[in-house]
Amino acid sequence: MPDQLAIEIKNDLAEIEGLFQALDQYGKTYHFSSKLLFDLHLVLDELLTNVIKYGYDDKGDHRIVVCLSSNPEEVVLRVEDDGRPFNPVTREAPDTSQALEQKPIGGLGIHLVKTLMDIVEYARENDKNILVIKKKLAD
């Protein structure tokens, strides 16, 4: 059985820092490369920032649950939030070939996640967004 890291954070951007510390510790234990850790930081940063900034219709407290597990073949991330339905998988990729003048500000976070990871799956269950993201470790 792969070891799992499960962390619950509040919908507060400042909480991401604590999650990153746990991620770094986990990565150290399982000898993640600096590139893999960089990518996992970025993926979690983009997803959680989106949820915390744009995911809720109210200003109340919400919980976001992040689970990280790994085995020799892959790293699996699972992010669960009770924000409004948002499926990043079906979001159209931005046109990254545009010239400076035409390039829109923003909209790149999800594109980074989908490009850096191998599998991104979305489900809406019990009024929750559930994202399962996999990064293959084998060559």
């Binding site: 951007l13 400042a14 991401i16 820092e17 600096s34 590139k35 960089f38 930081h41 970025l42 940063d45 983009e46 920032t49 900034k53 931005p94 046109d95 990254t96 070939s97 545009q98 010239a99 400076l100 003048e101 390039k103 500000i105 923003g106 790149l108 976070g109 594109h111 980074l112 490009t115 850096l116």
Partner: protein, 111 residues
């Protein structure tokens, strides 16, 4: 993230250290706005000690590049790490920014 501000002639050099993300990109935006208000039109942002960038950081750099293009200014980014460079590649930023491999090269390119 730490931002150190230096002058090389009429060029303002902002050296970033640490992480350019949602929580820190506002401080870079503030520095850029202040310098633009002071009439600075030539910028180098040095990434030598920058470990990490997220889309929030990209956003500020894109806004700065657009603004400087409008006023015929210049923006050069120097010494991107391999990881940061890959983020630029994925975002389509590599062809639209002027990148330099060192601060000296950036200064030579802009002057």
């Amino acid at each position: 993230m730490e931002i150190q501000e230096d002058k090389r002639g009429d060029i303002t050099v902002l050296s970033l250290a640490g992480r350019l993300d949602t929580n820190t990109s506002g401080s870079l935006e503030q520095k850029l706005i202040e310098a633009l208000d002071d009439g600075v039109t030539k910028f180098i942002v040095d990434f030598t000690q920058l470990d990490y960038i997220s889309s929030s950081g990209l956003r500020i750099l894109l806004m700065a590049a657009k603004k400087l293009k409008e006023i015929n200014g210049a923006l050069v980014l120097s010494s991107l790490s391999a990881h940061v460079k890959e983020v630029f590649d994925i975002a389509g930023f590599t062809p639209i920014f002027t990148l330099a491999s060192s601060l000296d090269e950036a200064v030579a390119g802009i002057a």
